[in-house]
């Protein structure tokens, strides 16, 4: 049996608050294989975003282990986790999270430059923007000059620019109307068909339907 791309082993996340500890995740064990498209569902506050943040190495579990491609992330320092986020993980957020100072093109090019220490001369940025349907004239726009759907397409292109092993999406259609949402989901399905591993958080079952497998979280546990 091959090594899973993502493996969580008894992961717990506790937020220590003055009013008392909040246990956002308790004892989660999940394995996701290469090429899978997994949807994570659950009611609001159930811990979906917290779970995705652990997988995306934005946060560290309070206890338990997270293995990415067989490597235990607990043994990595901030520097290693950051370069993992740069090269191996593509993150798509509900709020798009583009860099306001950079144009659409530059937003996509940013992780490329960070990784390769040079501008993209391979045409990859341009191709990715074309793939998600952002034409040349739009690519010079700053994020605040783009619609929500356009911003999310740019965000998808940015997430893909370093060809990450894992694509993580936290409610990618949450801020979009249903028609634009459908277009974004079709783009994601396309990527899945090309073999990309995708983990997506959503609370809409129509969106979850694009995935092959759904994991339901309730009160920080796999239901």
């Amino acid at each position: 049996m091959s090594i899973p791309v993502i493996e969580l082993d008894d992961v717990t996340k506790v937020y220590p608050l003055p009013a008392g500890d909040v246990t956002a995740l308790s004892g989660i064990s999940i394995r996701i294989d290469e090429g899978e498209f997994v949807a994570i569902m659950g009611p609001s506050g159930s811990g979906k975003s917290t779970l995705l943040n652990q997988i995306g190495c934005l946060d560290r579990p309070t206890s338990g282990d997270l293995f990415l491609a067989g490597k235990n992330t607990r043994e990595m320092d901030d520097r290693e986790l950051t370069s993992l986020r740069l090269s191996s993980i593509g993150y798509i957020f509900q709020k798009f999270n583009l860099i306001p100072l950079l144009s659409a093109y530059e937003n996509v090019e940013y992780p490329y430059i960070m990784k390769h220490r040079k501008n993209d001369d391979t045409g990859r940025v341009r191709d990715l923007l074309a793939l998600v349907g952002i034409d040349e004239s739009l690519s010079t726009h700053k994020p605040n000059e783009l619609s929500g759907g356009q911003q999310q397409r740019v965000a998808i292109a940015r997430a893909l620019v370093n060809d990450p092993a894992i694509l993580l999406c936290d409610e990618p259609t949450g801020n979009l109307d249903s028609q634009t949402g459908t277009q974004i989901m079709e783009a994601l399905s396309e990527l899945h068909k090309k073999g990309r591993t995708i983990v997506m958080v959503t609370h809409e079952s129509e969106i979850a339907a694009y995935a092959e497998r759904t994991i339901v979280i309730r009160d920080g546990r796999v239901a």
Binding site: L58, R79, T82, L84, N97, I99, Y110, M114
Partner: protein, 412 residues
């Protein structure tokens, strides 16, 4: 298109986005740099021009009668703004240098240079209806030719002719041929003399201060004040500057063997005390100017904290897509550095302009403005200004780089 250093590009854009705020912050640095540089240059120019003037007389020694006061007499008021000049020694006390002492000095000096006698007296003078006081020097006419330069007219030869210093001539509107009366009619007789020469400006000096004085032959002087074989001062000119100390010690050893009878003064003490008081003053004023840089630092700090606080979310995004802490740190240090650099460059240009004006205004000459000791204050002030910015930017940058990505992403 964006350069390879995208972190630098982000810093530049952030500065440009908040242009006004950045300009104001940089302005503080400009002011600080200009203040430090122009004050430093002013001090350096003063010191350089004074040292230059003083080094002309480094080979001169003056021997004056010992007065018990430790030889405090220096510069016979050469730079004073009044016509009234009090000579350091006057012949109405008993302290004089005798002919015998002068011969001794001459004997000692013979090997190293020359010595000559100076008689001087402060007295009332009268030109037309103007009256005032001035120093009257009596010098050997031969010596006079050697040590003084006449700018206009000729050297006084007879017992009725004198040369006058340029400042005195200007004050009292003396021309070649002008008559002036020396002496107080209430106390005795007056002597009328004719101006035959106007001396060249000599500046501050401790051997003779002729700019505001009247110079006549020793015969003229003795004719008025008497004192044959008695002198107020002996000046020594040493051929080789390095022998000044030897001569000084030799004269002191010989004449002050039993008791102190003379004071030998060289210019080094005076030079040291002037340059050290100048540098103390400059340092003090520069320290005050440095306060303006401190104020600038506070404003840079403020702007940097604002920039970090405004961009918390952006920092979260950058971190979440794989930007290292050190790169966030770099981004904000760059931002502070850009403000510092722009401020320092503008400050440097302006301090050359303003410094020039200040130096010309305060020192009177820009002769030394581009000397290394002076102009080096510009890069120095620039470096201090830019360094202060970067140092001030360290804490905000450090804070930015240590933000938790998730917390930062939640910020609105």
């Amino acid at each position: 298109m964006i350069g390879n250093d995208i972190i630098l590009a982000l810093s530049v854009r952030s500065v440009r986005l908040h242009f006004l705020r950045s300009v104001l912050a940089a302005l503080g640095i400009v002011i600080g740099v200009v203040a430090i540089a122009s004050i430093g240059m002013m001090g350096a120019n003063m010191t350089l021009s004074v040292t230059e003037q003083l080094s002309d007389m480094a080979n001169k020694l003056t021997v004056t009668p010992y007065t018990g006061g430790g030889g405090g007499m220096m510069m016979g008021g050469g730079g004073g703004g009044r016509v009234v000049i009090s000579s350091g020694s006057s012949s109405d006390d008993d302290d004089v240098i005798t002919e015998k002492q002068f011969k001794t000095i001459q004997r000692i000096v013979a090997k190293y240079g020359t010595a000559y006698t100076v008689r001087s007296e402060s007295d009332r003078i009268e030109v037309g209806s103007d009256t005032g006081r001035a120093t009257i020097y009596g010098l050997d006419p031969e010596i006079m030719r050697e040590i003084l330069t006449v700018e206009e007219g000729e050297y006084p030869k007879s017992t009725t002719s004198v040369a006058v210093g340029p400042t005195l001539a200007e004050r009292l509107n003396l021309k070649i041929g002008s008559k002036l009366k020396i002496g107080d009619p209430d106390e005795g007789s007056t002597t009328t003399v004719r101006v035959v020469g106007i001396l060249e400006e000599r500046g501050m000096s401790m051997d003779l201060s002729t700019d505001m004085a009247i110079v006549g032959s020793d015969k003229l002087f003795v004719g008025i004040y008497g004192g044959e074989g008695e002198y107020d001062q002996v000046n020594v000119v040493v051929n080789d500057i390095n022998n000044a100390d030897v001569v000084k010690t030799a004269i002191e050893d010989e004449l002050n063997r039993k008791e102190d009878t003379v004071t030998v003064q060289d210019s080094s003490r005076m030079m040291e005390s002037i340059t050290s008081s100048l540098s103390t003053m400059t340092t003090f004023v520069m320290a005050i100017a440095a306060i303006s840089l401190l104020v600038a630092a506070v404003s840079i700090f403020n702007v940097m904290m604002m920039s970090v606080n405004e961009r918390v979310r952006e920092i979260g995004i950058l971190r979440s897509i794989g930007t290292q802490r050190t790169e966030i740190l770099r981004m904000f240090i760059y931002e502070a550095g850009i403000l510092g650099l722009v401020g320092a460059i503008i400050g440097a240009v302006m301090s050359i302009i303003i410094g020039y004006i200040v130096v010309v205004g305060m020192v009177g000459t820009a002769e030394y403005f581009f000397a290394a000791g002076s102009i080096s204050y510009v890069p120095m002030a620039m470096a201090v200004g830019a360094a202060i910015c970067i140092v001030t930017g360290v804490y905000p940058a450090w804070r930015a780089s240590n933000l938790d990505p998730i917390e930062a992403l939640r910020a609105e």
